[in-house]
Subunit: 419 residues, 2 copies
């Protein structure tokens, strides 16, 4: 008898009718002979409503109390889901973070799971019940309620699937899977049938918001197969799994992220230790940096006193907070100027096959050049290449790369033939 963990997000829980629909899907899985555990998010809009209440009281509410407040969203959803399953004739029981229990550290509003005690859930499953678990929440060793941060229900679902050694973790959402790129920009975008954890990680962190990044890391770590699928259709979605299970393709998808701003420290002293000094200072001020680009500066005379430019990106939402910090660091390392550019987008191609196929980067740059798109900065990893370009090129760049790497036209297993 297989064990299936299902997770329904806020949109899938948005109305009573949708909750009934979700309940029917869990019952269907149970009727097919599986043991079923359901993880639920708060009804859409509810978490925001709760945070708004707290912010009406004060601008910076206490993190411990915020977690006690926000956790009620999933508590309501889990009770309603259990009631909906029962109303359709099945036995069900809800469990909260402190009942299950999901033990976390005490980092309120962004807690990390330390251990899961699944014994009560196991017992309920053995009694033939469908188990409903409130996602997003846990409890620390003192019994304080904690939450896992935005999108934490995905992490709850994968962690519980790992703890129960589930056969699959199904993430029900309002799209029918992971796409080769954003279908709103590129109508020829295709659903990806199977994708590796590594690729999914790159896509998740690059702005494809289907799965929360921590949940993918956790799925990879514990080898939990994740099935991303639509709550509104019965067709299969995208299976996120081990690389070994996949037919390897060179490029899997094209992602973009408008959330970053570019910072350039101009004319920094080119001495050993200066770059380290910059990023140590940024880290000390909790400035989270994504891309880092520094050109090797070649000074033919070999004289001391050469200068270089250091470029990096930070989240636009952080920029107001960190601008003074960066200006200060710029002065300390003797930068001639500090330039900020928010009018940029990061466009990336992702694919496991890059590791063994040379030329992906060259092809990406060529495609962008062919369309007259100037590349402002480049950053690469083993399985992705990212370019910063002006925001106005977002759609053009995504479409050109999607077409250039033939992601939309061929069947899934023939995507992006070797270059």
């Amino acid at each position: 008898m297989a064990l299936v963990v299902q997770k329904f997000g806020g949109t899938s829980m948005g109305t009573i009718d949708r909750i009934k629909n979700a309940a029917a899907r869990t019952i269907a899985a149970h009727t097919e002979g599986n043991r079923v555990v359901v993880i639920v998010s708060a009804m859409s809009g509810e978490t925001d409503r709760l945070l708004r209440l707290a912010r009406e009281v004060t601008a910076v509410p206490d993190a411990r109390e915020m977690d006690a407040l926000a956790a009620t969203g999933e508590q309501v959803a889990s009770a309603l889901m259990a009631i909906a399953i029962q109303a359709q004739g099945m036995r069900a029981r809800s469990f909260l973070g402190h009942q299950m229990k999901v033990l976390t550290d005490s980092a309120f509003t962004k807690a990390r799971i330390k251990a899961i005690d699944a014994s009560r859930v196991q017992l309920a499953l053995e009694e033939g019940e469908i188990v409903v678990v409130a996602g997003f929440q846990g409890v620390d060793e003192h019994g304080n309620i904690t939450t896992l941060g935005r999108g934490g229900s995905d992490t709850s679902a994968v962690a519980i699937a790992a703890a129960l050694d589930a056969d699959v973790c199904e993430i029900f959402t309002d799209v029918d899977g992971v796409y080769t790129t954003d279908p709103n920009i590129c109508p020829s975008a295709k659903k990806i049938d199977r994708i590796s954890y590594e690729e999914m990680l790159e896509l998740a962190s690059l702005g494809a918001k289907v799965l929360q990044i921590r949940s993918v890391e956790m799925a990879m770590k514990y080898g939990v197969p994740v099935h991303v699928r639509s709550s509104f259709s019965s067709s299969s979605g995208t299976l996120v799994t081990h690389e070994g299970d996949l037919e390897q393709v060179v490029v899997t998808g094209v992602a973009y992220d408008k959330g970053e701003a570019r910072v350039m420290l101009v004319g920094v002293r080119d001495q050993p230790g200066v770059v380290a000094e910059i990023f140590t200072a940024l880290a000390a001020k909790s400035v989270s940096v994504d891309m880092i680009i520094q050109n090797v500066s070649v000074d033919p005379t070999g004289a001391k006193g050469a200068h270089t430019d250091v470029t990096f990106t930070v989240a636009k939402s952080d920029l107001a907070r960190v601008r003074d910090v960066i200006d200060e660091i710029g002065r300390k390392v003797g930068a001639v100027d500090v330039r900020y550019d928010e009018d940029i987008v990061k466009v990336s191609v992702v694919g496991l096959g890059m590791r063994s196929h040379a030329g992906v980067a060259a092809k990406m740059f060529s495609i962008l050049a062919e369309h007259g798109i100037n590349i402002q900065a480049i950053s690469t990893s083993e399985i992705k290449i990212s370019c910063l370009v002006a925001t106005k090129y977002t759609e053009l760049a995504v479409r050109a790369l999607h077409e250039g790497f033939q992601l939309g036209n061929a069947p899934a297993d023939e995507r992006t033939p070797a270059i």
Copy 2:
């Protein structure tokens, strides 16, 4: 250093501004040198909203899940209250039923408190924090969330005050105390400064809805002084305390209750055991009965086969559910007819002094007669007398009794001189 327990009801927590106002009152009590524990109800309307959600799913939702659902109302309120206190510069921490912890039985939706472990709260108080506790909720021995039933936050407050051996339990509400009768009916109604637990019990159960009846029972049992006062003014309200502390008055207040319906079993066989049979059958069907009136039937011939009428009252809200049951019982005990009358009100006078002063009943009947009000049934206890009259006489009867017993005119300690 005194320990003060304060309880704020749903109206006092109805908006963010009101929560801030309540927070200011707890801080004031703390600044005056008290240790302070605050018990909060859900924001007004919230519990109904939650129950409505569940009823949209199914007509009869599971009790365990309903409690997990409903308990979120107080969880939200306690977090917001803690945040509001912190925003005004004081340290505060919220505790839920399972954190405090308030151990109850497993009678979901109407659980009874079995024990309170106040050690964590004591610790927080010693650290100088204001402690906020979510009312209405507890946890059973299995860790399931339970609730204490409607108005249960009063009970939470008194139970916690008892467990902490608090000096006073202040119940903040939207009226400024307990009145000699309903001021909406009788503008000369006066606030009662001090009242005994026994009198308050009779007034509470007779429809003066200021304090939940179980909380008064518990306050009496553990000798917790309860101060009922307004959240919107700083004047003192009504102190509910031991009889011994009071200057005794004959009649303390006039109450009325439109919530009952009269049932009359006509022509029942007047044999030993028949009345017992009726009420045993009613109890077996969970029909809750309030007044019971049976006239002694005197049959001058002493012959077997005499008949009598048995009258009792049940809650109007129960009538639809229990009518078939009562009809059935009527047939079994050979009643000639079963008559129902919903067009009645129960008017009562309450006072400890009745015990030592004869003639209160006679005076009550005279006052009603003087105003042409026909009494349909009478029921008495040591400290109250209740009469059923037609609903249309409600206001007239209450005003006449309030005036007749001089409750509105004299200073509080001279109310209702000996008759």
